[in-house]
């Protein structure tokens, strides 16, 4: 058979196969459903607000808090050091560098538990590693960190350490979120630029 016919048949064959491929791998889940289910049932993919508060106080560079709320809510108040990726914008290719940081713990939070767990399942399904959820979201943060008060006469060393962690995190949260709007915008812009640099992008 003529070589040209052979190559033509081969190309037509490949074309047919590509046409029947079920999806575009880049925007569909890479994990299989049983793998995602197994990861979903693990208890090791969430942090309590106290654990997050400790990381915030230490300015832990191995974690990245991702605030999934809309920009207006994020501007009103957010956990210091967090990056705003609204849930509706989660699949924007702009964030690929952020999600691809394998050694950084990406900790999702919303106001409650729902959006963060959607985002966790989507990011994990898409094959990104090291995804976590802050249990209870910002509502739990307010309840536990912002409104915590010590009641009683004696305080144990463990209670004292916990209270101090919450106090310091509360102080940082209040300071950052109490900035006037103009300074707040500059602060968030500086954070975004720092994040882009970490992702290997440019300004």
């Amino acid at each position: 058979m003529d070589a040209r016919i052979k190559y033509s048949l081969l190309l037509v064959g490949i074309g047919i196969i590509l046409a029947f491929l079920p999806f575009n791998a880049s925007d569909s889940f890479l994990l299989k459903s049983d793998e995602l289910l197994s990861k979903s049932t693990s208890s090791e993919n969430s942090f309590s607000v106290d654990q997050v508060a400790r990381m915030v106080n230490k300015e832990d560079s191995t974690m990245l808090l991702i605030d999934l709320r809309e920009a207006s809510q994020y501007k009103e108040c957010n956990i210091p050091g967090s990056l705003n990726i609204p849930f509706s914008d989660l699949l924007n290719p702009l964030w690929e560098g952020t999600f691809n940081q394998k050694k950084v713990k990406k900790i999702f939070y919303g106001n409650g538990d729902q959006t963060a767990n959607y985002a966790w399942a989507i990011a994990t399904g898409l094959g990104y590693k090291n995804n976590f959820v802050m249990k209870g979201g910002l509502n739990e943060w307010f309840k536990t960190v912002m409104l915590s008060q010590f009641k009683g006469e004696k305080i144990s060393p463990i209670e004292n350490a916990l209270y101090e962690t919450r106090f310091n995190a509360r102080k940082a949260f209040t300071q950052v979120n109490s900035l006037p709007d103009s300074l707040k915008s500059r602060y968030f812009k500086a954070k975004d630029i720092k994040q882009l640099k970490l992702d290997g992008g440019c300004q």
Partner: protein, 145 residues
């Protein structure tokens, strides 16, 4: 080429491969369109199946007529998949906690199940219940800007 064709057929017939695009999950959750309240479920006249993913027994007040208990870890077992495939009308997920229901919803949504809802007992599941009170006397150090 034959090998490639066989691989494609095998991949397509694998029930554990997600078929949907991730963006369908984002679109379906817009404005909480995938959330259904207790009262809405009670008022449903069309066929539906409640999938109870919890492990604890329910009190009588939270028992539904068309409920089926499947624990989350067994959600994708062959027999359970068959039940889900044959279910008519809405498929309503009901779990002990929000994370379980949310993750189960994403998995089933991406497997292509339609008319999939989450039963929620809160009117606005993602509402912020607290209001931040700024402290106008506090200022960050200039060098942190």
């Amino acid at each position: 080429m034959g090998v490639l064709l066989i691989l494609v057929i095998i991949r397509n017939s694998d029930q554990n491969v997600f078929q949907e695009k991730a963006k369908t999950a984002l679109e379906a959750t817009r404005n909480d369109a995938n959330i259904v309240s207790f009262d809405q479920v009670k008022a449903l006249t069309a066929p539906y199946l409640i999938l109870d993913l919890g492990s604890a027994p329910r009190p009588d007040s939270l028992l539904f007529q068309h409920a089926l208990k499947i624990t989350f870890s067994q959600l994708l077992e062959k027999a359970n998949r068959k039940i889900l495939n044959e279910a008519k009308g809405e498929l309503i997920l009901y779990a002990d906690d929000v994370p379980t229901a949310s993750r189960a919803w994403v998995i089933l949504n991406q497997l292509g199940y339609k008319n999939l809802r989450i039963l929620s007992f809160e009117n606005i599941p993602e509402g912020l219940k607290y209001k931040f009170q700024p402290d106008t006397t506090s200022r960050l150090e200039q060098d942190t800007m």
